[in-house]
Amino acid sequence: MSKKVLWLIIIFTILFIIGVNAGELGYLINLGNTVCLSCIGVG
């Protein structure tokens, strides 16, 4: 594994953790639990 890949994996893991701690999991659940009107083209 090259250093570049290792750094990328570390950076993306940190980003993921930042997202979790910022409360983005809850936002994702709320988002997924409502019908996305834009997705189906009626919004």
Partner: protein, 295 residues
Amino acid sequence: MTRLRSLIQTLMALGTNAYLLFPFGGSVIYQGPLKAMCHPGLNCYSCPGALLSCPVGAFQNFMASLRFSTGGFPLTGAIVVGYLGFIGTAVGRLTCGWVCPFGFIQDLIHKIPTPKFSLWKPLRWVKYAVLGLMVVVMPVFFVDASGLGHPWFCKIICPAGTLEGAFPLLLLKPSLWDTVGLFFWNKLAVLILILVAAILISRFFCRVICPLGAFYSLFSRISLVQLEYIEGNCVECGACVRKCPTGVVPNQEFDSRECIMCLKCVDACHFRALDFSMRRPPGKPAKVKRVTPSL
């Protein structure tokens, strides 16, 4: 390998759209904790059967509501970028070839017997513009009167949303027909165009439009796994080129951003000039193994 890939594609498409209670009352879409996780491929989360969220739709919504973040750390979509970046770094576009439900649909409809065409190669750059403009820039800056952005890719283009979300929902909830307007008919036209194009041109959407494929392709040259070319074994018969669904020339375009690692070329090569392996450190060449062709 082709059968294994088809099996995994089928299992992934069905397994991640396995909410079967929607016709029996209650919620019309799955509402549960699994929606906290994004699908690694393009799969509309408004599909009644969808268990996971759509990464492209979720990220656009993060961008669209960026200016409404109040107090604490802003919701920037870091969770989605981290998740997708991790997958991209690990396996690159393998996800497109093996896991993505919309890619699977394109594989299936391309089997319809019609004349087939190759893609005009410059069109491959369009997906990067779609990723940058419609997924990142427009949701942040193109806002309505209340200052709220919109998921413009979902709203204008996304064929997965129309096929997997709109049709089943309009069928299940006829009252939605009252709200159908210009955006729906636009999306329907786009869906028809993309499906026709995918019948004629292999993986048309993945190669030209898909922002998720564009994101994963950024990691094609560094991902942990790679399609390895063993030069000493190649007799330049062209069998790999004829089988490639994304128009890559495997013995010339190493680590191509278009390669979805479907491994059709590995199957097609009777001289074992192509192999799927962990990426070698720079400067360490692949071992040449002379083989008797198994024709």
